[in-house]
């Protein structure tokens, strides 16, 4: 069972997002980076499936050289291999990203280039930053694979993925023959913390680097500029300090918000 988990490097935003002067990107001069949360769960799921069924877990990303940091996080979580589709700075759109990933998967299949070298291809349902909701479906379509999206429970039995998606009041259950693309949501598992020893080992694991091919696509989708919504500059009303504030809170709940009879 060979499993691929695709991840995206995104800024680790805090309480306020600051943009660059040209409005083209988030000012990351004071920020760290992380994996998108859904994708961190994709990596954990890949590792768990391999632990249960054998095989290899590969983590892949499309991004700049610095994105090796996120690949090494995946390796430290005990993924076996890592592939960087190395770009210059600047974000790739969802179609170019999907084409590049599909191309890399075909290349990994070897000379016959037929079929998928991975039995299970995991993506995040949507990235934390751009949230385009489409890379998984596009990769699946390019490779001729089925795609199940938004999954929060996944079991693999006899070459079939049994996948559940939350809906109002329950779960939709899908049963899909592998190989398949599955896009997951946070909550499907609890990503492990890497041990210090695993982190050290991950530093020495070789990352496979490839030049990504964006493919050719009719039409365009371009970022013009980013904008932070105007701050709500109305001050919060201070109801008091400590336990003494309780009576005033009750007044607000009863008279202003009207949730207390």
């Amino acid at each position: 069972m060979n499993v691929l988990a695709c991840v995206k490097r995104v800024p680790d935003t805090g309480a306020k997002i600051v943009l660059t002067d040209d409005g083209q990107a988030i000012d990351t001069s004071n920020l760290g980076f992380t994996m998108s949360p859904h994708e961190e769960c994709a990596v954990e799921e890949a590792i768990q499936v391999v632990e249960d069924h054998g095989g290899t877990a590969t983590v892949m990303t499309l991004g700049p050289d610095a994105a090796t940091e996120q690949l090494r996080t995946g390796l430290a979580m005990t993924a076996d291999e890592a592939t960087l589709l190395e770009t210059d700075d600047g974000e790739w759109g969802p179609r170019a990203t999907a084409s590049a990933i599909a191309d890399a998967i075909r290349a990994a299949a070897g000379d016959d280039g037929d079929g998928s070298p991975f039995d299970l291809l995991l993506f995040g349902n949507e990235s934390a930053d751009a949230a385009n909701y489409q890379v998984g479906a596009r990769v699946a379509t390019e490779l001729g694979l089925p795609c199940v999206a938004g999954i929060k429970t996944l079991d693999i039995e006899d070459g079939t993925a049994i996948a559940k998606r939350e809906i109002a009041g329950g779960d939709e259950v899908y049963e899909v023959d592998l190989p398949a693309v599955v896009t997951v949501k946070e909550g499907i598992n609890e990503p492990r913390y890497a041990s210090m020893r695993a982190k050290m080992q991950a530093r020495n694991t070789e990352v496979d680097r490839r030049d990504p091919d964006p493919g050719e696509h009719a039409g365009t989708l371009e970022l013009v500029r980013l904008e932070a919504p105007a701050d709500d500059d109305s001050e919060a009303e201070l109801l008091g300090e400590g336990a003494d504030a309780a009576p005033r809170i009750v007044e607000v709940l009863r008279d202003d918000v009207e949730v207390l009879g």
């Binding site: 179609r95 999907a98 949230a131 999206a149 009719a218 013009v224 919060a236 201070l238």
Partner: protein, 337 residues
């Protein structure tokens, strides 16, 4: 023409699909041409009764013998075949799980660009690239985007467009058409689908046995963050929620600590809540959390740190230790009841 994908239950259109129709009409106002709708399933034609009021002239009812259960690729392929026939300037879907998924499959099948979670139209002139605004980071950032294609694929972010009948507001005064509100015309569409399109199909639905008020529907939500300090301390928050008939939620930090299950998580990658009041206890107010509670009518923050971001972003603030404030509040509520 703008083609709007409408989700429905037994022929009653979903609220989010009506919101998307508002977005579709704004596009049509700029681009010219009518708004038509596409709906899937045996009862799809029934949406026509309701949609005339929202400016839809024609409903394309897509039926197939295997559409008794949701099948994303088959729905996407049907939409693609309909787009081949109709050549709309845009397909607009609601920003729901299915709206995004069907749009993504359509985009993949016809290699069309797709802009998800749009919130405003800047310009949408016929024959030109359109400029739109869309949400990033769950709405804590806005992206001005330019999209150009024979058929543009767009989803409307949930709860960003009002549900409003066509012809309301300025349209008639501006000399635009006043829609009479009659039923839309139904045109049947039979897609050409094979087994491959049904590789992914809902096999069954399992009902959940969760007790209590679901977070997304609760009128009062009590949230606990890292400041709660441990899983046992949520008892006080549970008590407060019970007293107010509400539900308890948590920040990602608290979930990552293992204090609460992920189902309780409020934020970008968790639940989106819209209560009358959100009482945030020991939560700093990181962007990823705040996008989950921006639907709250009011926010009361209880935090030891008066400089915490949530103390600025909220409507009411109490500076203090939640372990003192919440028990005192529970007592005061009991006294008042």
């Amino acid at each position: 023409m703008i083609l709007a994908f409408v989700e429905h239950e037994h022929g009653t259109p979903a609220e989010t699909s009506l919101e998307a129709l508002t977005f579709a009409r704004r596009l049509a106002d700029d681009a010219g041409g009518p708004v038509e709708a596409v709906a899937v399933g045996d009862e799809a034609g029934a949406v026509a009764d309701a949609l005339g009021e929202y400016g839809v002239e024609t409903v394309h009812a897509v039926t197939h013998e295997r559409f008794d259960a949701y099948a994303p690729e088959a729905w996407g392929a049907s939409a693609a075949q309909l787009v081949d026939d109709l050549a709309p300037a845009a397909v607009v879907a609601p920003g729901t799980d299915r709206g995004h998924e069907v749009c993504a499959h359509l985009g993949a099948k016809r290699d069309l660009p797709m802009a998800a979670n749009c919130i405003a139209v800047e310009s949408a002139a016929a024959g030109e690239a359109w400029e739109l605004t869309r949400n990033r980071w769950g709405g804590s950032l806005r992206e001005h985007t330019r999209i150009d294609a024979e058929t543009k694929l767009l989803t409307a972010a949930e709860h960003e467009f009002p549900v409003e009948p066509a012809g309301d507001g300025g349209a008639a005064a501006d000399g635009g058409t006043v829609v009479d509100g009659g039923a839309a015309t139904v045109v049947d569409f039979a897609p050409d689908l094979g087994d491959d399109h049904f590789r992914v199909r809902v096999d069954r639905v399992e009902e959940s046995d969760v007790e209590g008020v679901p977070l997304g529907e609760a009128r009062v939500v009590v949230g606990g963050g890292r400041g709660v300090g441990g899983p046992e301390n949520y008892d006080q928050l549970e008590e407060l929620a019970d007293l107010l008939g509400g539900a308890v939620g948590a920040s990602r930090a608290a979930v990552n600590e293992g204090w609460r299950p992920h189902d309780d998580q409020i934020g970008l990658t968790g639940a989106k809540i819209s209560p009358d009041i959100y009482i945030a206890c020991g939560i700093s107010g990181a962007v990823q959390h705040m996008v989950g509670c921006k639907g709250a009518e009011a926010i009361l923050a209880i935090n030891t740190d008066p400089e915490a971001a949530i103390m600025q972003k909220g409507d009411y603030a109490v500076v203090g230790d939640l372990h003192e404030v919440v028990p005192a509040l529970n007592d005061a509520i009991r006294d008042a009841q």
